[in-house]
Structure formats: C-alpha cells, structure tokens
Subunit: 444 residues, 2 copies
C-alpha cells in the first residue's frame, strides 16, 4: 500500500458508494463545489488561507494504484465495474482559489472545484482534510506573529502535532504566517524552511556536570550555540554560561543564546539578562519556550520580559484553543442549475462565487460576496489556478506566499489584529447572490 497522504483510499466510504451511483445513473454533468468556513471559532477575527499547493498536488496526482484497485475488487462492497472505472479515474476539472496567505472570513469560498460530478464529489474528503489543517494552523500562527512583533518565532510543535503530516504542514503553515522557521528538519529539507534547534534536557543530564555539557555542545557546534539552562537551577546555569563564554572566546567560539524552558519565564529572563549583562555578555540572546501561545507571548511582552525569541509548540501545532474549523465543501451548481443546502444551521449560498475586497487608506474595509458574473468594485480575491486538471502556473514560492501573508496582515483593521473578539469584519452578500438564493428556494 502507498503512504496515507498519497492513497486514493484516504477518503470516506460514501465517496466510493456515491461514485458508483453516479456512474450507474449517468450523473456525470458538471458540478461546482466550494470550500469555505461557516463561522470563525471564538476569539478568531480572521483566517489565513493555506494548503492550496498540497491540494493542487493531490488533484494532479490522484489515481488508484493496482493494490488499491485490488482492495476495491475484493471488498465485496462495490460493483465489478467500479474498479475498472477507478483504474481510469483522474481529476480533470478546473480550480479557482484564493492564493495562499490571503486573509479571509466566514462564508467566503477559498477554493472552487468545477468538474464532472463523480470527480468533484470524490475529492471532497481529502481536499477538506488538506485545506482545513494548514488554514487552521496558519490562522493560529498569525496570532502569535501579531502578538509578538519583532520577535523571533520558531515552531516547536512536531512532537505533539497529530501525526507526521500534521507536524510537517504545521511548520509550513506557521512559516507562511510569519514564523522565522521550525525545529522540524523535514520541513527544512522539503520546503527550505529555516531549521532551529538547541539541545534536550537529557543531553545535560547525561553529563555529570552541567558546565561540561554546555562546553561539550559548544565545541561540537561552534556556529550554533544555544545553551539550555533550566535543567537544574536557571540562574546558577546563567553564571556558568558567563564563565564558559569567556573561556570559549579564546577558542573563537561565541555563545549565541540561552534557552529557558520552564518556570516563570518572565522572571527568569529578567534575572538571566542581569547575570549575562553583569558578566559582559549583552550580546547573548534569551530564547524562551514551554507551553507558550499567543496569549502568553502578549503577556510576557507586556511585562517587559527581556526575551528575544520564542519557541511555540503544542498550542500552535494543535491550534489548542480552536482545534478545528467549521468548514465545508458544498455543491453550488449541478448541470447548469444553482443548488443549495437548507439543513438547519447549515444553509449555504448557491452559485459560483467571487469575493471583492475594498480598501480604505490601504486598510481592508469591506468584502462583497457575490456571483462570479456580478462584477463589483474592489479586488477580486478568487483566481483560476487549474484548468482541465493542469496547473495554470508553477507552484508559488513559499517566500512569495509569506510576503503576501505579511502584507495581508498589515492591511487588517487594527481591531481585528487583537487577540480578543472584535466586531465582525463586514462581509456583505450582494443583491445578485441573494436573488439567486431566493430563486433556488422558490424552485422547490
């Protein structure tokens, strides 16, 4: 079997049962689906789109391997014909999307699929899985970026991310949002994201003497010497660093930073800063980690803690205060007719949509949600990215995406940049869209 993130079987059973029904009943007309978030989680004032690159990769490479077809044939759940149809199955549709790094709000589609119904329906589950994860984490990471301007922020969350792909994609999403890098080596190898790291407590503990552990590490890594000082007594360790830094200077080795990972980070940082400064080491930076999130960063900075950089781990990689988005991938049109779901609390806007963003002195002032055909004033956020299963351009560079996210965050109204609930950003459904919704309802 091929790995889970590449397997066509990484989907809900109903994707296959519906596929068989669509084929048997000849329901292969063009369908239009859109992916959007129904409402923002509490405390979130905006979201940051991410994951489009992996979504396009999925659509481009989707196919059933021989082993997977064998499973489909042997499962006893499907018709004989289905496996043969799956053997030829490819995604050949169109994709429109907001570029990664775009700020967006509730009910604004960030991706639209236009394809024969079996294709458009089949990709639902994995598309949601891909876009949800990175958008969730990029949106969370942006909050730390806004809370700690000018600080070095590093993703430390791999170990408690929900699996391998979650750890890898959290590093990517955090980098898009403005983090300086990640501890994750694979994210560096695959995406060129800067890798950061220090040492583990067990490294210190394995030595009988803490100062010997510091010196051993510094001599092995003279270019990258950040010393972890909270294993036993943080302030005592800071004094050892002062002495060691003088000793290492004669070998041409500079201690770059110390890291504090437990206790009252603000109080320890102040004490350690004083010890380092008194020892003549103003240039040694202080890096802090340990159960941090955007609220802790804001509070440490407000208290004037002399911390230069932060490792943000578990709370970032699990988006702990909002570990999911209420997102959906919904049918908007089939066989040329607009459709909408009217389930209680889950009603959707029908049709192929566009979002126009208006600015006031370069700050976003309002979004208009309307039909693609209803041109409005403002910047159109949704663009064509794939036609007939082929990309319209090469993958966008991560640096480009990151620059876009920075610009988008800079253009957010000030109140939306805070960590608490602000009055919602104005998103208005245009008359043309409202009229279509009423027409669809009247048809039933």
């Amino acid at each position: 079997m091929i790995p889970p993130e590449r397997s066509a079987l990484l989907t809900d059973l109903y994707a296959l049962t519906m596929l068989q029904a669509y084929f048997e009943h000849g329901m292969i007309d063009t369908a239009v689906f859109e992916f959007f978030v129904r409402r923002l989680p509490p405390g979130r004032n905006f979201l940051l789109a991410a994951g489009l690159e992996q979504a396009l990769e999925f659509l481009e490479t989707l196919r059933f391997s021989d082993a997977e077809l064998e499973w489909v044939r042997g499962s006893g759940k499907f018709s004989r014909e289905l496996a043969d149809q799956l053997a030829r199955f490819r995604f050949q549709g169109d994709v429109h999307a907001m570029p990664e790094g775009t700020v967006f709000f509730a009910n604004e589609p960030i991706l639209r699929i236009t394809a024969p119904m079996p294709q458009a329906q089949f990709v639902e589950c994995r598309l949601i899985n891909i876009l949800h994860l990175q958008t969730l984490i990029a949106s969370k990471a942006a909050r730390s970026v806004l809370a700690a301007p000018g600080k070095l922020l590093v993703d430390f969350g791999l170990r408690r991310a929900h699996g391998a792909e979650a750890g890898l994609m959290a590093a990517r999403a955090a980098y898009i949002a403005g983090f300086a890098g990640s501890s994750n080596v694979l994210a560096s190898a695959l995406f060129g994201i800067p890798a950061f790291g220090t040492m583990a407590h067990s490294f210190i503990e394995a030595y009988d003497d803490e100062a010997a552990a510091f010196e051993g590490f510094a001599r092995t890594h003279p270019q990258n010497t950040t010393l972890l000082i909270d294993t036993y007594d943080t302030e005592a360790a800071a004094h050892k660093v002062v002495a060691l830094a003088h000793k290492l200077r004669s070998s041409g080795i500079a201690v770059r930073a110390v890291r504090i990972d437990s206790g009252d980070l603000g109080a320890h940082a102040k004490a350690v800063r004083a010890i380092l400064d008194a020892g003549g080491w103003r240039e040694i930076r202080i890096f802090a980690s340990g159960s941090l999130d955007e609220y802790a960063l804001r509070d440490l900075i407000a208290r004037g803690a002399p911390i230069d950089g932060f490792g943000v781990g578990t709370h970032l990689d699990t988006s702990s205060d909002a570990p999911f988005l209420d997102c959906a991938y919904k049918l908007q049109e089939y066989a040329g007719r607009a459709r909408r779901k009217r389930s209680i609390g889950k009603a959707t806007w029908p049709g192929r949509k566009q979002v126009f963003r208006r600015y006031d002195n370069a700050i976003s002032s309002a979004d208009i949600l309307t039909l693609e055909t209803d041109a409005q004033e403002g910047e159109a956020l949704i663009k064509p990215v794939m036609r007939a299963g082929k990309r319209l351009a090469a993958a966008e560079s991560l640096e480009n995406i990151r620059a876009r996210a920075a610009e988008q965050l800079a253009r957010l109204p000030a109140e939306l940049r805070s960590l608490h609930d602000a009055p919602p950003y104005p998103v208005t459904a245009a008359p043309a869209l409202r009229a279509l919704a009423e027409a669809v309802d009247a048809r039933r």
Copy 2:
C-alpha cells in the same frame, strides 16, 4: 524524498545536533528513557494506551535514505562524519511497554527505551508524535463508548483530522477503544476496520427530486441502504422513505436506516421514529451525526432519543476538548546511574520503572509505581516487547487489543467511567522509588 511518516528527517533539528555531539564525545553508553503523561487533561479520569504497534514499526524500519543523507551533507549544519554515521544508523535497543488498550494514569510510563544514548535520544520526537496521537484519540473515544453503551459508534472524523496520518490513526485508535468502525476506507484496507458510510447532501441536491435520489442510491446499493434525510425537511423526507421502502420491498431491497445530520437530533429522531413506525417500518434504524461528542451522546440518550447509532467526527478526531496530552519522553538512567530532571513543574521519577495494578473484586483499586527490580503485589503492566531492535512477538491483532481495552474499561471503578472529573485514581510511588529520587538529588 520518502513520505513524512517514513522519513528519518521527521524530527527536531536538535536530535541531529545532539547526535553529532554524542558521537564526537563518545557518549554512547546505555541510556534509559520512558514515555509518560505528566498529568491528565481536565475532565479526563484515565487514559488508554495506543500506538505501540506504529512505534515498533518506526523503530524497526528507521534508517536514512540516500536522499536524506544527501540533504544532511549539503545542509552545512553538521560535520562531514555525521552523514557517514547516519548511513549506518539503526535502532538496536530494547523496548518495554504496556500493551495497547491498557488503561493508565499520570506519571505511569507506557513505554521504555533502553539503548545506546545516540539511538535512545534520536527516536524521541517521532516516538512521542506516534504515541501521543493514538493515545489521545483512544482516550477520547473511550468516553463515547462509556457514554453510549450498546449503541453503534462510527468514526466520521477524517476530513477534519489534522492530516492524513491523523485521520488514519484516529480510526485505528477509536476502533481499539470500542467504536464499531470508521468511514475511513484506508483504515479498512490497511487494518481491516469495518467501513461505514451513507451519502452526502450534495448527492441529494444533484437530483431535482429527493425521493428519486433515495431510490437511485438504494437501487445501486441494495445491501447498504442508509438514506440521508435532512437535506431539506427531515420529517417530509421520512414520509418519502416510508413510501419508498414499500416500493423497494417488491424489488427485494430493504432500507436499513435513515441518517439525520442537523437540527435538534433528539426531536427529529422522535418524529422520524413515529413516522417510520406508523408506516410499518419498525426495523428501519435511525443513525445520527453532526457535531457530536460524548457529552451530546450522553444527553441524547438521557432524553430517550430513539437513535440506534452515532457518527462521531470532528470532536473525536481532534480530541477537541483536550487536543493534546502533557506527555514527555525523559531520561531515567545513563551509564548505569539514575537521572532525573528537576525543572520547575516538570520534575520526573528516576530509574527503570514498573507499574503494579491491584484489583478489588475484579475492579482496579490502586496502582503502585516503583522500580523494575522492586517486585510488588499486583499485575505488572509493563512487558518486554523488543530486544536488540527485534520484536519479541508478531504484531498483536487489532481484535485482541480491542478486547483488552473493553476488559480494561469494564474494570475501571464506576466513578472514573463518568464524563466529569472524579477523585483521582490512587497511584502511589513505592518507597524504593522515593529513595532513589532522594539519592539522585543528594548526588548533586
């Protein structure tokens, strides 16, 4: 590059920098690390161990591919020698663990690694990543199992799980905890977990007529007919099902169930049950889904909602009320001497440990945490599973693990089986362990 869950580079940068330091300084004596959870999340009274099988697979197959070694050589971060050492790098240590499906509590190790320091240290990040995810989800799933005895529970969470591996392993963990199966096809193909599914709202919407959609689906899947009835008007759709079921009976097709996915599930279920019963269809089951978790299940059952099965999705696969565990992988011994970390709030028990569980009338009554060498009354929960890098037995069957979990849950004291915080289960550190901790502290 190989897929993330198989890549040796899926680790923190410090794993590689420390490895180089250990090699350079000849620190290759035997190290002992243990994985445990420091404290239970709020509302959790116990945890369920899961993920050992994937942890052992990781240890057995860990190696650096040529492409990965190339990256290490070209990164400029490491010595020339390191890549050559990594080319030969294998895990050749011992593993002791609690079997999957074992109930455990705070500070009780569920896995111990005994290996040369570079090996034992290097595997930290991915081992935590693997054990954390499945233990988190199995522990969450067990709460739904306890809250809804006798109900059919199905994992529906893939789309909002945090990536591919999270979705796959959540299905496995939920099945271990007692779920009947999952919507996830890959979990069925890889692990033999029963797959369940119905249809999407978009399937209904693509038809101009809801009854035609039901009939089309039923004729394609006469063996597996669960009809989704909440797209427009749930009760109106239930009447259509009554009529359709009579019509289909003449073709030998039986409608097995209806599914309700929105609104007040309890109220809709009562109305739908009455409509089905009045129509002569007492045997058609009612299946409910939509933002469910263990609390919603408990409340629906308490209200007497006539629901036979539940799809539990997002809240399960993200463990939404506790999306991470405060877990750690810590050095307990190096070169024959016990070690412990004393960082504020993160102090650990030193040494190689065992957990003895005592029972009172077949119900767990107390756990004793002590040294491996300090035999105590009770059942020893930690067992050898790998020696010198080789498994001591073939992979345990999922059915075995699932049976163990069911037995373990049945032996929990009644108050720990509730959904709210109970007085903590008694876990006592034995005198031998306390004495060792004092001796380690006195040494400094």
